[in-house]
Symmetry: C2
Subunit: 772 residues, 2 copies
């Protein structure tokens, strides 16, 4: 954990120029609006280490699978979101010189990301090799109100320079994929060109034909006065744009506003792409910066009104949690079930921009609780649409009768990952999808989704388990052999407790909703039975038998669940035993050493206790936490918030707080030394969940919303809004607990042991208890 | 198992043209002489499916490691033997037509590999699209007496054609790597050219600078009369050679003899390569075909005199075992400790031509027993030379204090394989090297190798185990976690019985030789202690403790050893339960399905019983055999002969015979449907071992050579020579057992329960017993 940034409750501020941490800074200052996004690289060229990256939602590239030794069942292709042509480029030229912060002296430097407004600012004072001093001011907006629109305001003030200044805004199709495939050119240019006022670049990915078209317009100002600058058109094979210049003297300021419209074949007919993007860029130009900025600010305000968590007395935590919410919403707008959330969002190519179980584990519960919008439902529909491919995926691995294995990694529903221990064996992911469906029903109180979509998924997943378990003669129990559990630092193990347990619960969920839907949606039930060929009697009997006779490894002496067979044979020691300078261990240890160590990458048994919280008593949770937490290295971003939540629930509030900080400032403080590759987008909701489900202790038990707030020592209070059964509650925790209903009419809520009736307009106040 | 070839005791015969099995045929008819080798593709171009492959010993290429997800500890490079420029090419041209068996009618076709002489013959009658009929006769020799020399005699007889016939012998540097990297060009041409009588091609691998130079001369005959044919020189950028033609009429025969000298930078200074190869090609031309062929036949006769196994009453087995010996000697001459034996030898690119533990498991015992030459010793010196890299390799994985992990796959001593479950975890390979050293001492009766080389290897390997084992609190035993045993259809298991057991025996061997060498070679001992920094007291104590408290999984009820923790939880069923059409399972099942099945790729527990035979009683071997054999799919070529040997030892002679046939005719009958990729060179000695150690039951027990012959029903007798303590014995098994000493003076031999004294000139005859 390091401190590179200034602490501020609404802003991310970097107040010095750190060339050696450029990639990390670029990750941190990433901007997006759910339809597109880009890393926070400079608009102008930068000739030193940097990772320029720009991404357009839903535009993917089918890369050939690359493995050392092919294994039967590997997919042919790896899908990934390609680094898109660069829409943001603006060069700054003087006579014979061009701005390049790697070559010029940087006399002062400040970057600020205003999270409330969703605007990034960059200010710098620079001196060129010839001694020309300039002041730079840049504003950058990925417009939340206009999903196709990116806006950049680029201002230069001469301090001592006299002569011509040119600003060169272009659309640049000559993009590489700097991280994994630096030599690879993915984009074919279909057409590019300029008119008097507008440039466009129409591109297509190699092999498939996903298409993107950019159009840009601009305005040019000298000392805040619009100027017609007789632009030179730039019309290269892979670039289109303008060079706009004027003479300046010291004190003069020139400003270029670049309006970029980004349209893709996901939303437009191919033949309309140029026209649509050009029209939108021209519209933006005529609407103008101020109006567009205001609409953008309003859109952000709406999000903050719903999801903001206010923390009193801890600006670092406040900054972190807002940063997480901000980055998540920059990645996913929630309005398109064809889209999902890549682990790095639009901040890097790692994980290929694909969908992982992270979505169901972290994002779905966040969206379900934090907004009345149907964002989570869209994420669930995404999986439902991919059910046929999940069935196909299972078939490739030898399963039949409609069994589904949802992919570990995918964008189009086909598995695209090729590590056998993950692709074929990290099968617990299947349960998380069923769990997310269950959560949707529990928190929204509606069954329509399950009747129309979810039950089919449940049946297919249950069929998978029915075939995946086997019966052990020595144990006289069902076992699940050869899996990788959530802790990916164990591979190909037998009887991962979490997998076995969640398999049981998954079968149970299916059985229970089969009954409910049969009763409440008889027509849908008939339809589902027919299309799935369900043999209820036989299949449900098998599922029940598995539930009854599932093997669950336990250590009766310690009173804990055992992560998997063989775990207790390891040398058990806490993470303190890891030599200094060897963390994260995945950057220092060979894989076999990691595997045979006791160290746990991410919550595994504890994940089960988190997800199925009410099935375990507090002492059981405490014993397991005290056993497993000291051996957990949290080298997955999915881990700290879950430990934090459990710690808060068992009264270890300060431990919970440490883990919360880890979850919350993972990227801002670069805990795992990998921020250069991008941000941990999909685990960002973890910090919100840690507050709401951890510190506030919000749970649904037997249909009742329940909270049991605790508060870290450092905080004087915290508050948030939460949604349940169509109601929105505002919950403030301080010395007292205040609860008000901001939407919805009436709701019972249990606070600690007592149940209260909440009504709109009547605030509830309860004393906070000490639970430690 | 299929029958594609005619059965013949000394020949491999293909008597029809099978275009759909061309790659397999090319593998079968591969030719080599230990310095170079090539697949049996046609000399002339063939425009349909084919895999032209040629390889030069010790010339490797460092390919970048290709993996999906990088794991810490993976090597940067994968070493592989590249497909060399083609030295054998000869085109046949008529007016406007060129011979191509894919396009011409093949009226008759016969290929024959004479294993006794080491010559392949090809005869065909062909008709061109224009109706020209020719008869073709080709002879091909990879000269065993002249390791740089390849000889090809290419004859064409006109049946109905009148006009010019040209033969075009070239050296072709435009080689691709057809199997894994079809687009890749590895060879840079340094220089090529022709003189009046000679052409040469000097090439170098990209990136590194291993070099090969070929030179060729030729003679041209018309109706057996040498003709000066006014050749046209072929001098292209990547090709050098000649076009030699003459007019023919029906009945005329033209013959081209191509003499190719193949020199590499492993044996020559780079600047001398052209001169040396040209001189050798010219010499060959002047020596002439007949003399060179005779020297070649003599060299093969020497090999057969030592190693031939004669089997009476079973031509298929006879053919198979000779084929195996033939192919092994084609791959490895045994005279250069810088070379080793790739699993596919010179018959294909799979496995990169690298060294695997196959060498120590199969080849070393064969060479130790079958020849008095120091071939096995050279293979052991190869490993000793790589000890520093093995220590380096272990260090990369976190081991220290001189611990060594010999690579799973290597050519230069560095690990070059990148599958974590193999590279990092199939660590039992370390023991096989120590075991081979022990065998060398046991069978030769000399300790020099151990004193000068072997003990250092033993210490380094023992240090590896000392760090690799860990202590299990629940078991109160040493355990070895996270390994892949010999059965590669289980990955990352705990306490693989074979690994644990062989680890103990390995430590024991080291301890015992430390004492012996200290006593018998005090100077060497002092040297070794000093360079290894051996702390005898402390280290030997630790090793003894591990031996005493090693965990060995057993099933007391069944009276068997358990392959690894968790194995008994599997659904245990015989290979009969595998659905028809799904074998080999590795071509049909996904990897996870294979892993969680009970099916065993290759002998695992049974390998331990084979290697440490005298530590187990016959009943224990029988129980384990009866438990594991039915679940073994033998999808590794290392497996059947070991099962065969054990089966013979426990009286299951007909089972042993079936397994022997599998081991012996694996490639000839293409058991595993992969003969197209090349032959299973390193496991070929298995058939010889199956006869000698299996049917004849040859073992060394307490320093005494012991045989317990049995005989398969089909056979009337078998005989072989074997070497022990500097003696050579000829053993004939029929109704009686006859034993004679063909070299050496005197030796005791135990036959069944009785010990006899053998003396040169006095044959021993003993009645054969029925042991079943």
């Amino acid at each position: 954990m390091k401190k590179y940034l200034k602490t501020d409750e609404w802003n991310i501020i970097e107040d010095s120029f750190q060339a050696d941490r450029m990639r990390w800074s670029e990750s941190i200052f990433s901007l997006g609006n759910g339809r597109f996004g880009q890393r926070g690289h400079f608009e102008e060229p930068y000739s030193s280490d940097s990772y320029r990256g720009a991404f357009v939602a839903g535009i993917t590239f089918l890369d050939k699978t690359r493995v050392g030794w092919w294994k039967n069942g590997f997919p042919q292709f790896y899908t990934r979101i390609p680094n898109a042509p660069d829409w943001s480029s603006i060069s700054l030229r003087l006579i014979d010189e061009e701005l390049d912060l790697a070559q010029w002296d940087v006399d002062s430097f400040n970057r600020r990301l205003d999270m409330k407004a969703g605007i990034s600012y960059r200010d710098a004072e620079v001196t060129s090799p010839r001694g020309n001093k300039l002041r730079l001011h840049v504003e950058h907006i990925a417009n939340m109100a206009h999903p196709n629109l990116c806006l950049i305001k680029y201002s230069v003030t001469s301090v001592n320079y006299t002569g011509k200044v040119s600003l060169v805004p272009i659309l640049d199709g000559d993009t590489a994929n700097p991280v994994r495939h630096p030599d690879e050119k993915i984009w074919n240019i279909l057409r590019s060109g300029t008119t008097n006022d507008c440039a466009y670049l129409w591109t297509q990915t190699r092999r498939e034909d996903a298409q993107i078209c950019y159009a840009m317009t601009y305005r040019f100002f000298k000392n805040n006065k619009e100027t017609f600058a007789n632009p030179i058109r730039i019309e290269k094979e892979k670039q289109a744009g303008f060079s706009v210049g004027t003479e300046v003297k010291p004190g003069d300021t020139v400003t270029l506003v670049k309006y970029i419209a980004i349209a893709s074949s996901l939303y437009y007919e191919r033949q309309d792409l140029i026209e649509a993007s050009v029209a939108e860029a021209r519209n933006a130009q005529s609407t103008g910066w101020d109006a567009l900025e205001q609409e953008h600010r309003n859109a952000w305000q709406e999000i903050w009104d719903e999801t903001d968590v206010s923390i009193e007395g801890d600006p670092e935590a406040q900054q972190g949690i807002r940063y997480n919410i901000f980055q998540l919403y920059q990645t996913y707008r929630g309005d398109d079930p064809r889209l999902n959330i890549g682990p790095k969002g639009f901040t890097g190519e790692k994980y290929g921009g694909n969908t992982y179980w992270n979505t169901e584990l972290c994002c779905v519960p966040f969206f379900l609780l934090s907004t009345p919008k149907k964002i989570a439902e869209n994420l669930l529909i995404y999986r439902y649409k991919q059910l046929p491919k999940a069935i196909e995926n299972a078939r490739k691995l030898g399963f039949d009768h409609g069994a589904a294995l949802f992919p570990q990694v995918t964008s189009n529903g086909e598995e695209c990952h090729s590590e056998w221990e993950i692709t074929f064996e990290e099968v617990h992911r299947n349960n998380m999808i069923v769990y997310a469906i269950l959560q949707h029903a529990t928190l929204t109180g509606t069954l329509d989704y399950i009747a129309h979509y979810g039950l089919e998924v449940m049946i297919a997943v249950s069929r998978f388990w029915s075939q995946r378990v086997s019966f052990s003669q020595p144990k006289q129990k069902y076992v699940i052999l050869g899996v990788t559990g959530p802790d990916e630092y164990e591979n190909n193990v037998n009887n991962n407790w979490y997998t076995n347990y969640s398999c049981m619960r998954c079968l149970e969920t299916t059985l229970s909703f089969l009954e409910i839907i049969a009763r409440q949606y008889p027509d849908e039930y008939a339809r589902i039975c027919s299309i799935t060929n369900l043999n209820y009697t036989e299949e449900s009997e098998r599922w029940r038998d598995i539930i009854e006779r599932m093997y669950l490894p336990e250590d009766p002496e310690r009173g804990i669940f055992i992560q998997n067979d063989g775990y207790m044979d390891k040398v058990l020691q806490s993470t303190d035993a890891i030599p200094a300078g060897e963390r994260p261990i995945n950057q220092y240890w060979s894989w076999d050493r990691i595997l045979r160590s006791c160290y746990i990458k991410q919550s595994d048994v504890l994940l089960g206790l988190y997800l199925y919280y009410f099935n375990f008593d507090r002492e059981t949770i405490r014993r397991n936490f005290e056993f497993y937490e000291p051996m957990t290295v949290h080298e997955s971003s999915l881990s700290p918030h879950i430990h934090s939540i459990l710690a808060a629930r068992i009264g270890k509030v300060e431990k919970a707080y440490q883990l919360f900080l880890h979850a919350t400032r993972l990227d801002l403080d670069d805990y795992n030394n990998e921020g250069d590759q991008g941000l941990h987008i999909t685990s960002m909701p973890g910090s919100w969940l840690a507050v709401v489900r951890g510190f506030a202790g919000l749970q649904i038990q037997g249909g009742t919303l329940k909270i049991e707030p605790v508060i870290p020592e450092k905080w004087s209070g915290y508050s948030f809004k939460v949604n349940y059964l169509g109601n929105t509650l505002h919950i403030q925790v301080g010395k007292e607990i205040k609860i008000s209903l901001t939407a919805g009419k009436q709701l019972n809520i249990q606070v600690y042991q007592n149940v209260y009736e909440l009504k709109q307009g009547l605030d509830l106040t309860v004393n906070r208890k000490d639970l430690s």
